[in-house]
């Protein structure tokens, strides 16, 4: 589904990603861990097409196509979803209206008929229930006045609405209490299937107790320096990153 080869990216002339190799197949869940400032969020942003970052070298193939040539919205319409670490508030734009437009674009790209107003309403209620999000929030402006937990649930709600092929969840667990974490994780697990894939970017083992990854990668100084199975996360939790970092020669 996704093949990343030797990806380099910079912001304001400073190189953040320094040669990432990474591959995701349908049905898989990957976790990317690593110390602060190692480039985890940048990697997700570059895959989503954030124009703040400049790709200076490397290739990214998504479903057999060159991802790096696509606009932000083309990537989204083709099924790439980014769950934001800090979801933005959009005053004056209602959740319902925003989702109506987003779902219409995604369905058009999937070759599906648009939903009627009634179907849309029902669909929104169903998906809101997946993450125990109060359906009343649909009448409010996007993320405005939402609590920290509601914002994160709202990201997973939008993921459920858009039925992505590849979900990149950037620190979705940060700032969540244990109940909200469980709800968010349950939502993500319910959306897992053989045809989609999930990349979790996280600091903590905690999330991986609830969403069990197939692979765990350590990103350090802009490169993936170590990969393993789910047991790697436990080892990192216990022993930290030092044993890896000390081994790592630039």
């Amino acid at each position: 589904m996704l093949k990343v080869k030797n990806l380099h990216a910079s912001v304001d002339g400073k190189e953040i990603l320094r040669g990432i190799d990474f591959e995701v197949k349908a049905g898989e869940v990957h976790a990317i861990m690593g110390p602060n400032g190692s480039g985890k969020s940048t990697f997700a942003s570059v895959l989503a097409g954030n124009e703040k970052f400049e790709v200076t070298a490397g290739e990214v193939e998504y479903e057999g196509e060159n991802l790096l040539e696509m606009s932000i919205e083309e990537r989204a319409r083709k099924g790439i979803f980014l769950g934001f670490q800090y979801p933005v508030e959009i005053p004056g734009v209602s959740m319902a209206n925003f989702m109506k437009l987003a779902v219409a674009e995604r369905r058009k790209a999937q070759g599906l008929e648009p939903l009627t107003a009634g179907q849309m309403l029902k669909y929104m209620r169903e998906k809101a229930a997946v993450v125990e999000l109060d359906a009343k929030l649909m009448n409010r402006a996007v993320n405005e006045g939402f609590s920290g937990g509601e914002k994160k649930k709202n990201e997973i709600f939008q993921m459920a609405m858009l039925e992505p092929r590849l979900s990149l969840l950037d620190e979705t667990d940060s700032g969540l209490d244990i109940d909200a974490l469980r709800i968010v994780a349950t939502g993500v697990n319910r959306l897992r299937s053989e045809s989609n894939a999930t990349v979790l970017i996280t600091h903590y083992q905690r999330l991986l107790d609830y969403i069990v990854p197939d692979f765990v990668h350590v990103l350090y100084k802009g490169r993936i320096i170590y990969s393993g199975g789910k047991e790697l996360a436990l080892k990192l939790e216990k022993e930290g990153y030092d044993w890896l970092i000390n081994d790592y020669k630039e």
């Binding site: 932000i72 919205e73 959009i90 004056g92 925003f98």
Partner: protein, 230 residues
């Protein structure tokens, strides 16, 4: 106590050089809506004891339009809210001048005016809050928020407070900015085109004032004035 409410709608260039003078008697209330795209318009409102006024204007032009609102709070307990939107397109000029005068104690006022300038448009907001020496326990708020949509568009905002009483709650804020790129990115990541995202965002900026219009046909008419058919 049942309040007597007068509702006035002033439309188009036809509302003339003077939008009129309105005296709101003790305990009564006025709702005034004004929407114009051309010419200069003056509105004077005087509030007696316990009177209320809700004033809301929309100005949108590719030519020239100006509004001049003066509100005199002359009786204790009077309350005025002033909501406004102005938009200047092409080489249009939209000017708004407000003068909120707290002449006596125990009155409240709230001004919320938003401006948009596109192309080579120019917008100006001058808003004065005056609090007389005896007007203790005044509450007066004023906010001017503005966005410029193109490099050649300009907006100036000049909020002024003239306060001669010492026991007052007053605040004002003014911003001129561009559209928020983080919001655009977020919407595009959900599949909206850049154009749709910008439209939605601008609609949101304007809606925060238009939501104060309960009359739906009137609100739609205001939207059409702000977004003329392309």
């Amino acid at each position: 106590m049942e309040q007597k409410t007068r509702k006035v709608v002033l439309r188009g260039a036809g509302c003339g050089e003077c939008g009129g003078c309105y005296e709101v008697a003790a305990g009564e209330s006025l709702e005034l809506y004004q929407l114009c795209g051309e010419d200069d318009h003056k509105v004077r409102v005087t509030l007696a004891e316990g009177a209320r006024a809700k004033l809301l204007f929309v100005a949108s032009t590719s030519g020239s339009v100006s509004y001049d609102y003066r509100v005199e709070l002359n009786g204790a307990g009077a309350e005025a809210e002033l909501w406004g939107l102005f938009a200047a397109r092409e080489r249009g000029v939209a000017k708004v001048h407000t003068d909120m005068r707290h002449n006596v104690a125990d009155c409240r006022s709230n001004q919320q005016v938003r401006g948009v300038a596109d192309d080579e448009g120019y917008g100006l907001f001058e808003g004065l809050v005056y609090v007389a020496p005896d007007a203790q326990r005044t509450e007066a708020y004023q906010q001017s928020r503005n966005v410029v949509l193109s490099p050649a568009a300009r907006i100036q905002t000049l909020p002024q407070l003239e306060i001669y009483a010492d026991d007052v709650k007053c605040s004002h804020g003014a911003t001129v900015g561009q559209m928020n790129e983080e919001q655009i990115y977020y919407m595009r990541q959900r599949g909206l085109s850049e154009e749709d995202a910008r439209k939605l965002q601008l609609g949101g900026f304007i809606r925060q004032v238009l939501d104060r219009v309960d009359d739906e046909p009137l609100r739609e008419e205001m939207e059409r004035l702000l977004f003329p058919a392309e």
